[in-house]
């Protein structure tokens, strides 16, 4: 649906050149929700704005729905933009227009007849759950409602792609959840491709299928959302993951003396990560029975990555004559993510 190759963006400021994007390559499939995460200044905003040419790329190619965006005329670009919806962090609604007329705006400029506009706007307002606010002005709405108007407006011309520029960053956590729910819903109903940029890992975790991590104008890591969460490679990705799931183990636990099972040795502190199906296997009782180790659960939690359960268990294991090692090898053989945090003797 979207193919970006060798995209570069250089800004000129006071005679100095700032390279905001350095050779970006991306491919986004039809119907997926693709997240781009990065700290501020990483180049996220530039990247998303290059996709619909709000920023003109310095170099490279952007193909959306088979159209090379960097090579089309101004008129063709306006046509193409009608099929690429966009929503913004600060909503950017027209203050002088009612909710109804805000949603009608893209239809007006596309030259849709008045009667059709009315039907379409009411349909869109129903879709985002704001049919009772048609005559309200944006200033009378809450942040979440404003973003719903933004979404209705972005969907007016039946776009194939929806770009979300930090669409939930100005919203409280609860409203963020409901807006993300709406986006996921639209993605399902309309098979809409969604590109979402954010600095919040929570947003990625909630709805994305795939993720790219952007740092200093480059994509440093990219993969399925579950892979990024369960096995982040770069330190930036690790930071983002731990912003959602704290991976810190308190020092008292790391360093405390072995107390498990009396005199037994070979204590290890192990983190086990379960994803999807494996979250429902009785692995702890299996290792205790089969390897006669002792196991003490220090902490555990279960979350959802989009719709997959994702478990995280911190376990203290101890046993004689290398049985601990065997138990760990067994756990690994089940395809669980294992991280040995403390390797005692």
């Amino acid at each position: 649906m979207i193919k970006v190759s060798n995209l570069r963006k250089v800004y000129q400021s006071n005679g100095k050149q700032v390279e905001a994007l350095k050779s970006i390559d991306l491919e986004i499939e039809k119907g997926e929700i693709f997240g781009i995460i990065g700290f501020s200044g990483a180049g996220k905003s530039s990247l998303v704005r290059c996709l619909n040419l709000l920023e003109k790329p310095t170099e490279g190619s952007i193909i959306i729905a088979g159209q090379e965006m960097t090579k089309i005329s101004a008129k063709e670009l306006r046509q193409a933009r009608r099929k690429i919806g966009m929503i913004f962090q600060h909503f950017n609604l027209l203050f002088s227009r009612t909710v109804f007329h805000n949603v009608a705006f893209p239809l007006e400029i596309a030259g849709v007849p008045q009667k059709e506009i009315k039907e379409r706007v009411l349909e869109l307002l129903r879709l985002v759950g704001l049919e009772d606010k048609a005559e309200a002005f944006p200033a009378q709405l809450s942040g979440g409602q404003k973003q719903r108007v933004g979404i209705a407006r972005a969907l007016a011309n039946n776009p194939q792609v929806l770009l979300c520029d930090e669409a939930t960053s100005a919203l409280d956590p609860q409203t963020t959840k409901s807006i993300l729910g709406l986006l996921a819903d639209i993605n399902q109903k309309l098979n809409l491709t969604i590109v979402l940029i954010t600095h919040e890992m929570q947003v990625i975790k909630e709805i994305c299928d795939r993720v790219a991590v952007l740092e200093d104008g480059r994509i440093i890591e990219q993969g399925s959302m579950v892979d990024i969460f369960t096995g982040p490679q770069t330190s930036t990705a690790k930071d983002f993951v731990s912003s959602v799931f704290s991976q810190e183990v308190p020092v008292e636990i790391r360093e405390r003396q072995f107390t498990l099972g009396g005199k037994r040795s070979g204590r290890k502190l192990v983190r086990i990560i379960f994803v999807g199906e494996s979250a429902s296997q009785p692995v702890i009782s299996e290792i205790v029975k089969n390897f006669s180790v002792d196991a003490n659960i220090i902490s555990g939690n279960i979350e959802h990555l989009k719709d997959k359960p994702f478990g995280n268990l911190l376990l203290e294991i101890a046993g004689d004559n290398g049985s601990t090692e065997k138990a760990i090898a067994y756990l690994e053989s089940l395809g669980l993510g294992i991280e040995v945090i403390e390797n005692g003797r």
């Binding site: 709000l54 009608r82 600060h90 400029i109 011309n157």
Partner: protein, 217 residues
């Protein structure tokens, strides 16, 4: 004079109203497009054209830097060309417009710059062209502030029109100078000042009220 004070004041007020009304109309007709051009041709705006922008800016500044009383005299050839004469209320509309239009253009520029770039960007993202951005976003979003700008122009023109009167333009200024000053009839002077103050107060309040009504922010 005292007997004819009231009819004189009514006639002079009518002349002032005529001058202010028409010169406001022409100032808006000329100043609004000028203000729009000053904004949209600026750096990084939707129709960036720095040469046009700077040339226009220079002309606007030049016209605004001439004191009105000088402008009034300096442009008499233009006035004669346009209305065939250089005296009378109709003739004074030319210098009044030339003085107020660039002023209004700058006020329009300031008003339109208040419209957040994000809103313009959202219009662009929906496929709006320059004309749609101007007519459906920039101007409608700035309406409350534009109403205040027009109010400002009216108040200024009421003052200017009194000066135009002084060189034969008619109106309240003319009356005040001829009767109040040259003939030393202070009650005429006082009456014109009271009318001018009243007019300014009324237009300003009306402008403030309308702008507030229209503001949906």
């Amino acid at each position: 004079m005292v007997d004819s004070l009231i009819p004189n004041l009514i006639q002079a007020s009518g002349e002032t109203f005529y001058m202010v009304a028409l010169s406001t109309l022409f100032s808006v007709l000329i100043g609004l497009p000028l203000g729009v051009i000053l904004v949209v041709t600026d750096r990084k705006h939707i129709l960036e054209n720095l040469i046009l922008n700077q040339t226009l800016g220079w002309i606007v500044n030049a016209l605004r830097s001439a004191p009105f009383i000088i402008l009034l005299v300096a442009i008499t050839p233009v006035t004669r060309l346009l209305v065939g004469t250089t005296v009378g209320t109709t003739a004074s509309i030319v210098p009044l417009t030339i003085a107020a239009a660039p002023f209004f253009a700058r006020l329009v520029e300031a008003s339109l710059k208040e419209v957040e770039w994000g809103i313009i960007e959202s219009g662009l993202s929906m496929g709006a062209g320059p004309w749609h951005i101007i007519s459906k976003i920039l101007i409608p979003e700035a309406v409350p502030s534009l109403v205040l700008a027009v109010t400002n122009v009216i108040v200024n023109l009421i003052g200017y029109s009194a000066m135009a009167g002084a060189i034969g333009g008619g109106g309240l200024g003319d009356l005040a100078i001829r009767y109040g000053y040259y003939r030393f009839e202070p009650e005429v002077m006082l009456a014109t000042v009271v009318i001018l103050i009243g007019a300014v107060q009324i237009f300003q309040s009306l402008g403030d009220w309308t702008a507030k009504k229209l503001n949906k922010k």
